[in-house]
Symmetry: C2
Subunit: 234 residues, 2 copies
Amino acid sequence: MQVKLHAVNESDCASCGIRAQSLFANLNSADFQLIDQPIHDLALAPQATVFAEGAQGEYVFTVRKGLIKLVRYHADGSQRIVRLLGPGDIAGLETTAGAPYDSTAVAITDIQACRIPVAVIRRLETESPRLHQQLVRKWHEALRTADDFIADLASGSARQRLARLLLRLAGEGHDHLMLPSREDVGAVLGITTETASRTVAAFRREGLMHDLDRQGRFFRIETAAVQAVAGGEP
Amino acid sequence: MQVKLHAVNESDCASCGIRAQSLFANLNSADFQLIDQPIHDLALAPQATVFAEGAQGEYVFTVRKGLIKLVRYHADGSQRIVRLLGPGDIAGLETTAGAPYDSTAVAITDIQACRIPVAVIRRLETESPRLHQQLVRKWHEALRTADDFIADLASGSARQRLARLLLRLAGEGHDHLMLPSREDVGAVLGITTETASRTVAAFRREGLMHDLDRQGRFFRIETAAVQAVAGGEP
DNA sequence: CGGCCCGTTGATTACTGTCAACGTGGGTGG
DNA sequence: CCACCCACGTTGACAGTAATCAACGGGCCG
């Protein structure tokens, strides 16, 4: 696992591309003075573990670039991905509630993230209403996303689920996306790797998605047609 | 929909059976003085809607007794239950983030709940660290429960899912439970009403659960055997 | 160059969804 | 008070989908 660290300061935050969605979205200079422990920039390679379920957390992580999976393991060793986190999302929010990590976080792609000591959050939370507001927003986003996962990605046929995942990964207004490994797609949708592979292959044959590379990871989707499948059309 | 209301005061809270799990768990008398809008006691009959998805919320609801379902509706009209709330749980937390309700809340059983104006929460949150701490705890509980739903109730065979639901409804250390309608069981587990009915019937035949009434709602379960099925045993 | 991981595909089985019918208990209206 | 009706649970038959077991090819790393 490759990990690179370097300290971050206020000016880095000021020029951060995802500042607007981050926890520090509307902090002022006085707020920044309250940060008494270093925030580190973190680079992770695919498959790197950010944190493990059950560990006592000391950091929250703001994803700046890449995709992270939150995983729960079943008794039989199989995994279920409970949520996917992208730029602007926070991993390890539960540490701000003083709890151990609820799931294991693993990098799917190359990751750039900010590692923020939970003590910094606790201090800012009580002293800066601006951070507090962002924190509540993040709790709400996380909960809403979790509910979306149940409603969208855990209901209906494999075709419907895959279609909804494609739309989610592409993001509003975009038609290109990167798909995780077929195994991860299966773990997100609650289907087997084989069914995930078959369904992707079927979508390609049907012209619902087109390869953008030769490794079967980057795709362009026919948004309207995919939406039809997501809604229940065969 | 039958709704009964009456105002609640500090002494009611002091004697509340679920005070320990409630938002007001450790408020002191000074904190109670900050409550400047009335909190109402709410009684609801089964099928009553507590709030509807998309509505701008003005209240959060603490469930004192009964079971509430949080529902999302699909484009085709079918429903998916995203979470179940019982005594001590809060419905409508998202209003404290200033957002509309993310899902529709419907009573499954007779309900007793406290209806708390969101303005009261906002005021207490800034002025009472005790309430603030409880609020964070509630966000965390809700998020964790949502993740549990994905990992436990949306993975594996119908038998596994039902077994896990039974264990969850019984609660740690208990072996008796009330099951919602077969339609709701299906909507929780992401299976059809028929499969839910068949699987319940199979569990009864196999002696995994025993009727406690004649309407097929109250059961006693063989906890060890049900755990085995939940873990993957046939 | 060889091995290995990953994606793919085939064959078969098992499970769940679908469509349909029926009984029963509770509620309603006469 | 009784008859009717309806919602709900149940069960059957069958179709359709996904899981399982197995095999194979290609790209990447050592």
